[in-house]
Structure formats: C-alpha cells, structure tokens
C-alpha cells in the first residue's frame, strides 16, 4: 500500500531528481538484462499478491455482498444489528487509542534520544529495544500471561499495588484494552525505534551542524529540525499499526482460553467474524465484518496519507 521509497528525506530526493534529469530521456532506465530480471521478480510477487492477497479479498467481498435475491447489503445489516457488533468495535478503538498514542510518543522520543548518543551506545540500546519484538504473536501472549498473573509474575508487586491477587483480577473486562496495548507496544515499539533511527540517520549532518552553529540546543534541534523531517515516517507507522491493530485476534483469543472465557469470544471484530464463521457457519456475515475492517483500515490510511502528505513531493 505504501511505498517506502516515496518517503526518502528531501535531500536524497532532490539529488535523485537531479540525477534523473541529468540522465535525460535517452537512457531512462537500467540496461535490458537487469530490466528483465526486474520484471521477473515483480511478476513472482504479483502472482503471490493475486493468489494470497487480492483473491481472498475479492472472495470476502463477494461473500459479504451475496444476499438471498442477488447482490445486497443484507449481511452488513445483519451483523450491524448484532449485540456484539458495537462493543467489539468500541473495544478495538479504545485499544488502538491507547496503543497508537503511547507507541507514537515513546517511539519518537526514544528514537530522538538514541540518535543523540554515541554510535556504540545507541547500537546497544537499539538492540535491547528490539529484543521484545523478536517474540511476537502467540508466544508473546503466553509470556504476558505469566507477567499478568499475580501468582507467577516477576512484577507481582506492581499488580498487588493495584489490588490484583489473581489473573482474573488483572484480566477484568475494563482492563483488557490496556493489557492488549501493553502487549502490542512491547512487540512493536522496538522495531519502529530502529526504523525511526534509520530515518534520523538520513538527515544530512550539515543540516544539524548548521542548526547548532545558529545556536540551536539539543532539544530545539530534536523538535524543530529532526521531528519535521521524520514526520512522514510517523504517519507511515500509524497507517501500518492502525491496520494491524484493528485486526486484533490472537491476544484476546488466547487470553480468553487461558482464563476459561474471561475474554468474550467476540471481544474484537475479528474474533466476532471468526466466531460467526466457525461456531455458527455464518460465513457471509463473517465476510461482511471482514469487509467492514478493510473499509475502516483503508479510510484511516487515506486520511492519514492525505493529512500527513505522505506521497507529496515538495
């Protein structure tokens, strides 16, 4: 959806444009041999994209729109009227709000701080930040189960401070968005810090030196020079994270099994779709919810790309 090469920092883009202009029309691409190789590799990807990305999406849309008398929105209306529908979306919006806000703030601040450290120290920090992200998905949920259970957690004293004595207390319905946000934060933040650090490294050294000569302090440089230059990366992070977060499934599903049902099997929209399809054989209704999620993800992406001027070339 997003092409990272479109978000290179201005300086690079300028030189690339200059290079292209210099090359002129006679030689507007690489040599023939490597062009064939390029098509070959892209073709491989296109085949996979069609088979595993586009086809299932088209199938879901077709399932969702097939109503008794032809095409229609019956399945969208059906699912919208389910009692579990609104709470499921409230749950993920609450989760996304907490997660995206904390992830954006901490990732940006930590990346800016790490960028001011000497290379050796910052490498160590980036590695440490990245470590929790190496344990993703189901494995991380299982580890977090132990962390959240006051009987097994190494941080039990923190849980006790909240008067939590049992896993059932920690996993109380009101806490769930926060718990999932914590899990998602530690899984994803490290990787994004590494990416933001890469973006910060792309800022030309002359620019920062010029700012320093003009009397800009470290904080001022960070806020006024570096932050605007990595803004597009932040938008990029939000677009991808929002889409991933709206499809929350593994975390509530496993926590639900571990607590014998304290997390409703229809907690998130994705779970609701799964439950409809595989507990009640209502594939069309499940597809309608999947399409809802797709539309929401696309809308948010379009909004962020447009407001964040992600593809704009100044």
């Amino acid at each position: 959806m997003t092409n990272p090469s479109a978000t290179v920092v201005p300086d690079e883009r300028v030189s690339a444009r200059r290079g292209r202009r210099a090359a002129g029309r006679r030689n507007d691409g690489p040599a023939g041999g490597s062009r064939t190789a390029g098509y070959f590799f892209v073709a491989l990807y296109v085949v996979l994209l069609l088979a595993l990305g586009i086809a299932p999406t088209v199938y879901a849309i077709a399932l969702a729109l097939s109503a008794p008398g032809g095409l229609g929105f019956a399945h969208f209306v059906n699912t919208f009227n389910l009692f579990e529908f609104a709470p499921a979306f409230e749950h993920i919006f609450e989760f996304e709000g907490i997660w995206l806000a904390s992830q954006t703030i901490f990732v940006v601040i930590l990346a800016l701080i790490v960028h001011t450290l000497t290379r050796r120290v910052s490498t160590a920090f980036r590695f440490v930040f990245y470590l929790p992200g190496a344990m993703a998905g189901a494995a991380s949920v299982v580890v977090w189960l132990f962390m959240f259970d006051p009987n097994t957690s190494p941080w039990a004293f923190i849980l006790h401070a909240f008067h939590y004595q049992l896993l059932a207390n920690t996993a109380a319905p009101g806490n769930l968005p926060v718990l999932f946000a914590i899990m998602a934060f530690f899984t994803g933040a490290g990787g994004w810090i590494v990416i933001m650090y890469g973006a910060l490294n792309n800022i030309p050294q002359e620019l920062i030196e010029a700012a320093e000569i003009d009397g800009s302090g470290a904080i001022q440089t960070a806020l006024k020079i570096k932050l605007p230059l990595i803004r597009k990366w932040i938008v990029y992070m939000l677009v991808l994270s929002f889409a991933a977060g709206s499809q929350l499934f593994v975390e509530p599903q496993i926590l639900g099994v571990a607590t014998v049902g304290e997390v409703s099997p229809q907690w998130s929209p994705n779970q609701l779709a799964y439950n409809l399809a595989f507990q009640y054989d209502r594939f069309n209704d499940a597809a309608a919810i999947s399409v809802d999620l797709l539309v929401i993800g696309l809308l948010v992406a379009v909004l962020l790309v447009w407001r964040g001027k992600l593809f704009e070339v100044e």
């Binding site: 097994t152 059932a168 109380a172 319905p173 099994v257 049902g261 409703s264 595989f278 507990q279 054989d281």
Partner: protein, 438 residues
C-alpha cells in the same frame, strides 16, 4: 451380563475385522486426558488398525470441530477427517448433528437398542436431537456432589452432620471465616461455578423450550434465592475461594468441603499426588438440596463419543464408539475419571474405587445419587454458558472486595441472551432487558 459380554466380543471382532478388511485405519480424535483410554484399548486390541490423534477435546469455546466441519462441508471431507471423536463439550453433539452441520451419524441404527437403553436415565439428553436422533454416546457422568474432608470437618465441627443444604454449607463457611480463616467450603473463582450455584439450584437461565427457543429468567426465586444466601453469608473471598481450583496457588488441603463434579476427587484434590490430599481423604456426600427444596444438582464436563456421518466405514466407527463408552475394559477406575453412564459398568466401577476415597460406601451412594439428580432444565446449547459467566461475572466476584452475587444475575442473563440471539435462538424472558436485548 452375558448379553453385554457377547456384545462386547462382537464389537471387538467387528473392529478388527474392519481393520483387516481395509488398509485405511479408523481415525480417532481424543484429548490428552483420554490417552489412558488409548492405552487401555490398545492393550485389549493390540492389532487394531487405529490412528489416534490428540486434539484439545473441542475445549470450551475453541470450536475446533465446528470450524473444521464448516470448512469440510464447503470443500469436501478429506481422507484424514476423524471417524470417531471424544468431545468434552456437552452442547457440541446436538449442534454438529443438526443443520447447518448435519455431520454426525445417527447411532440408533448402528448401536443395539438394548445398549442404548443401558445408559442412565437422562444421560443421553445431550446426545438427542430435537428430531429424536441419537448422535453421540455419553462417556461418563460429571454430576456435582459435595466433596468433604471428614478429618477437617470433625476437627472444626465435631460430630455435627455434614450439611445437606446450601444454607448449611454457607453457615459452616461463616463459622470458618472467623475461627479458621483460610479453610474453604467452596469456590467462587472459576468460570464454571455457575454450573453448581445456578444449575444446581434449578435457576432457569438455559432452558431450551423448543427448536430455536430459549427461556431465560434471572428474576426466578431459584436464582435470587441462592444469590442472596451467598451474599448474606459474606463467605465470598473468605471460605469461598476466589482462587481458581486449578491455579498453582490453590491448596486442596484447605478444603473442608466443596461442591464439585465427581472428577474433582482426583483432578482438583489431587488425591495421592504431591501437593494434593493423601489417598483415602475425601469422601463424596450427596449434593446439597436446592434452595427451593428440590433434589437437584449441576454438572461440569464428562465426555461424549461422536461418530462422523462421513466415516468411510460407519459400522466399524459406531462399534468403536460403543466399545469405548460401554466396555468395562475402558470404563474402569484408573482409565475413566468419572462414573460410567452405561449402567451395567457402574457397579464394578464403584466397587473398585476402593481406597482412593474415604468411606467407599458413602462415596458410591453419593455418586449414584448425584448422577440421577442432574437437573435437565439446563439444556445443551451451541454456546458456552461458562464463557459467558467468565466474561460477565467472574472479574466482579473475584475482585477485592467482591461484588454481590445477586448483582451478577442480570448481566449474566443478558450475556446468555445475546449469545442465544447470535446462534439464531428466540429469547423469552419476563425481564425486558433480557428479552429485547440491552
């Protein structure tokens, strides 16, 4: 008895003949607790051509069978689909045996009538579809009894008789709260506790009244009666444990008494195991009378044997399921943790319990009583009543201090009603929030 033995040999013969006739093995799915069955079966039939596959027993709300069946009904049944399945969820059989699934074999034609009649009264309720098909065989009873540690009971209550009512249990709990804090008369910390407190008190929250119709009435005095009794005792969080009975921090040696299914005897009190109670400690007493005076109890678990309609050799598959559910080679102590529901097996099962539990004759009689007292007004439905209790009431009852039990009835009933509507049921209730949705 002779007839049973004859049938038994015929079954074993049929299975091995079927196995020899075709190279395709019978595919049997069991959960980890049923591995003992596999060993017992293979010891009895060493040459049987069976492929044993371990799965989660379709554990609470995971819907493994539902998801696979739904997909296979769309794409065609693969050759490695299971022929016979052990299922730990009582609601599964009727759901998978009726539309839109219709995937289970009607055992009426393949299992002799005499054998079907040998199952305890009412025990095949979860196996009977609205149209009268028998789509599973019941493995064991999981009726709730009152488990008592007579040693502790004598220490705290002297020669007083063991309680026979919920009020009696809760009153003993009050005595322990102050005089012997830490000792328990029950549990409030698990997602399945409503199976004892509500089901066991004939609280009508799960009563299917016809195809696609359910009645849910949290305002019934059967529900409020037990809820108010629990609240006014003040036992929750004290002598009613907020810690799950399966948590590592749960100490079975602190249990003076506890209402729970038959299999708690070995599984929860861990009789004879490290950290558990010594062999011969726990004695089962009859389940307490409901607050309305009825002799009723709830149940949790117990298993079902399902046979796939898509099995290539339906006769052999049905014969296998019959063998597992009825043979004394399987339905015996050390293999099956619950009381067999096939009545001809019960006597030898109970008599061989021997020294596992204290007072064998009381335990035997109580198990039989409980198995016949399970209230049939709590119907098998295609959603988990435990999961709804877990997501509505559990967090509030395990909070410190706990919320009142009575305040959980309405949200629980609303949760059940929403699940029922999701499954396409029509909900009838005198409480408008339950009938019309919140």
């Amino acid at each position: 008895m002779l007839g049973v033995a004859g049938g038994l040999f015929a079954v074993e013969g049929a299975t091995s003949a079927a196995a020899k006739a075709s190279s395709k093995p019978l595919i049997v799915w069991i959960d980890t607790s049923r591995v003992a069955y596999e060993k017992a079966y293979m010891a009895a039939n060493p040459h049987a051509n069976i492929k044993w596959v371990i799965y989660n027993g379709n554990a609470n709300g995971t819907g493994v069978l539902q998801s696979k069946f739904a997909l296979w009904n769309r794409t065609g049944w693969p050759s490695n689909a299971p022929d016979v399945m052990f299922d730990t969820q009582n609601y599964d059989a009727v759901q998978l045996g009726t539309a839109p699934y219709n995937d289970l074999l009607n055992l009426k034609s393949d299992v002799p009538k005499k054998v079907l009649n040998g199952f305890a009264k009412g025990s095949l309720a979860a196996c009977t579809t609205p149209s009268g098909q028998i789509v599973c065989l019941r493995n064991d009873s999981a009726a709730a009894v009152l488990w008592v540690n007579p040693g502790l009971y004598k220490q705290f209550f002297g020669t007083a008789a063991v309680p026979t009512t919920w009020a009696g249990i809760l009153a003993d709990g009050q005595a322990l709260n102050t005089a012997h804090a830490g000792y328990l008369v029950g549990d409030i910390g698990d997602a399945f506790d409503e199976d004892y407190y509500l089901w066991g008190n004939e609280c009508p929250l799960d009563q299917v009244t016809g195809k696609g119709k359910i009645e849910i009435n949290p305002s019934s005095s059967n529900c409020t009666g037990i809820a108010n009794a629990i609240d006014s005792s003040g036992d929750m969080g004290k002598s009613l444990s907020q810690t799950s009975v399966f948590a590592s921090s749960f100490n079975p040696n602190k249990v003076v008494m506890m209402v729970g299914p038959l299999w708690y005897g070995t599984a929860v009190f861990q009789t004879g195991a490290t950290g558990g109670v010594p062999t011969g400690t726990m004695t089962a007493y009859p389940p307490p009378a409901a607050v309305n005076g009825a002799h009723a109890t709830g149940a949790l678990g117990g298993g079902l044997w399902l046979v796939s309609k898509h099995a290539p050799n339906q006769k052999a598959a049905a014969a296998f399921a019959q063998f597992m559910a009825t043979s004394p080679k399987i339905q015996k102590v050390g293999v099956d943790a619950g009381l067999p529901q096939y009545v001809p097996d019960e006597a030898s099962y109970l008599s061989s319990l021997g020294s596992v539990f204290g007072d064998p004759s009381t335990t035997e009689a109580s198990w039989k009583t409980a198995a016949s007292e399970v209230w049939t007004g709590w119907s098998p439905v295609p959603w988990s009543t435990d999961a709804v209790w877990g997501s509505t009431a559990l967090a509030n009852l395990t909070a410190n201090p706990p919320a009142s039990f009575a305040s959980q009835l309405l949200p629980y009933a609303e949760g059940l009603a929403n699940q029922a509507r999701l499954a396409g049921f029509t909900v009838k209730s005198p409480v408008s929030a339950v009938a019309n949705g919140s």
